[in-house]
Amino acid sequence: MKNSLLVLFSTVFMFLVTSVQAELELHISKTTDDGIPIYIANISAGIPGGHNGIIEADLKRSGRFTIINRSKIPNIASYGETLNTGAYQDIADYIVRGKDNGNGGLFIELVSTSDNAKTNYTITANENPRRPAHKAADLIYEKITRRKGAFDTRLAYVTVTNSTTKNRTFRLYISDSDGHNPHSILTSRRPIMSPAWSPDGSELAYVSFERNTSAIYVQNIFTGAKRLISAREGINGAPAWSPDGSYLAMSLSIDGNPEIYTINAKSGALKRITKSSAIDTEPAWNGIGSIIFTSNRGGKPQLYRTSANGGGVQRLTFDGKYNSAADIANKKIAFVTGNRGAFHIAIRSVSGSGKDMLSNGRLDESPTLAPNGAMVAYTTLRNGQNTLAVVSDNGKARQFLTSPAGDVREPAWSPYLHK
């Protein structure tokens, strides 16, 4: 067990959500036991699993923490009572205690056992009762790792039922980043694809074939209001917001073959960015000045970079016959890499070279980075079904989010939430 990955196949927790929406099942594939040892005391709460359960699960899936079993410190002093941290120094580096404030908010205390340094947080209530615990996990994560936490975020994803029959149904879902609180914002008998979050987290761009041809829409996730962005002749695909929300990059074939364009989100002004006789698609913004995209201009799909104004095209990937579907956050790039007929998720720094492999499925695709770049969600095949997977960027923690109802795929990780 030492320094090895603890594999917990088939550990299934059914999510208890009151909603009638399709619920996801969490399967933990692996966690790390060589992470930072941290003990989370019980935090009273009226939600299933408790706030402490949510914080533990968040820290676990970061691949950076090892949760100390509560039985190792029985009868720990309650929040507010004196804690003799020296006694626990050999068990955990950190101890978290807390209590709810009676209104759905939380008081959280983080103690370092090595120097008894205490940090206290007050977290206000939210209409989503799980969010205060995610916020607590973010604060704990940031304090200890000095990197911003990204647990209090959302996922968008697409589900498909009856995929090969006339009754096939596509749904666009939004959930918390751990798969809880799923709710559908769009249902269609025709394909829905490629959800992409606006940088303020309030809107989703996506591709819908509801007009029997592809079109890009933007929908407000709170009001449901939806507007058509592009329904030009040919492909309207792969929308991606610029980091400042001013532009959407996309792939259009209006000029004959798929090229990257940007469209001004306010004025609708269209600008062509790439010019090649090959496929150019899957744009991802690398800051506001540059775009990374997939092109087969060299014969096989590879990643390229261009100025966001067009020109200055450089090839980024040379290793392997298939590299595509870049997603970028915090100067890291996650992408699909094909090797000997299998497709895996890889990660590298935008400016670097080489890559670290993050997945080992046969047909992994659609990587999306958490806004801090420390976790990647993607689609994999599990028991013959499209399933979401979430892996830490160090590869040490992985979990699957499956739906008993059918395929779940194309996750899109939201930016940081601001309310």
Partner: protein, 204 residues
Amino acid sequence: MKNSKTRLILLPLLFSALALGACSQNDKKGDQNEGAVTSDQGGTQSGTIGSGGASDTNSSSTRGDYLPNQNANNDPNNTNDLTLAGLNDPNNLLSKRTIFFDYNKAGIRPEYMILINAHAKLAAKYPQLKMRLEGHADERGSREYNVALSEQRSQSVKRIMGIQGARSAQIKTIGYGEEVPIVAGHNKDSWQQNRRVEIKYDNY
């Protein structure tokens, strides 16, 4: 190697469908049941096309290639079998509406030229006829890339139909990527069936 294998798998069925008789490539391939194109292709084992096209192609090509050549299409008047009723007649080649592709390729396999030409000539004969060429990809690789690939497949078919006299305004192309598979499996046979362009006529 993968490509030549899948091509060989499909050849026998097409040949028999076209009633072209024996052929050297046909003999090479023993296992006709391995073919990916199975039941939902209708099980039709015979069909006819305007006789000029089929017989001339057969005699002019010893390699089993059906690339367009002058002989194959030198009799534009001989379109007796190219009727709208033929679209739904299982004994007519026009009832076949699906063209299959190699992995990550949008090029037309030579054996599909006759089928595409038949539909193109039908469109040329009936200028009011409108069709959609719906391109699809298998599940491998990334989804938006597959949308682009599948649109290129439908455009490949449209280009050939244009050469044969179909008008651009009659044909709409669309790429569905890997979003609408016809079979659900995650193996070579399923992938072959899903890499396709479907010819869909308005009202037929």
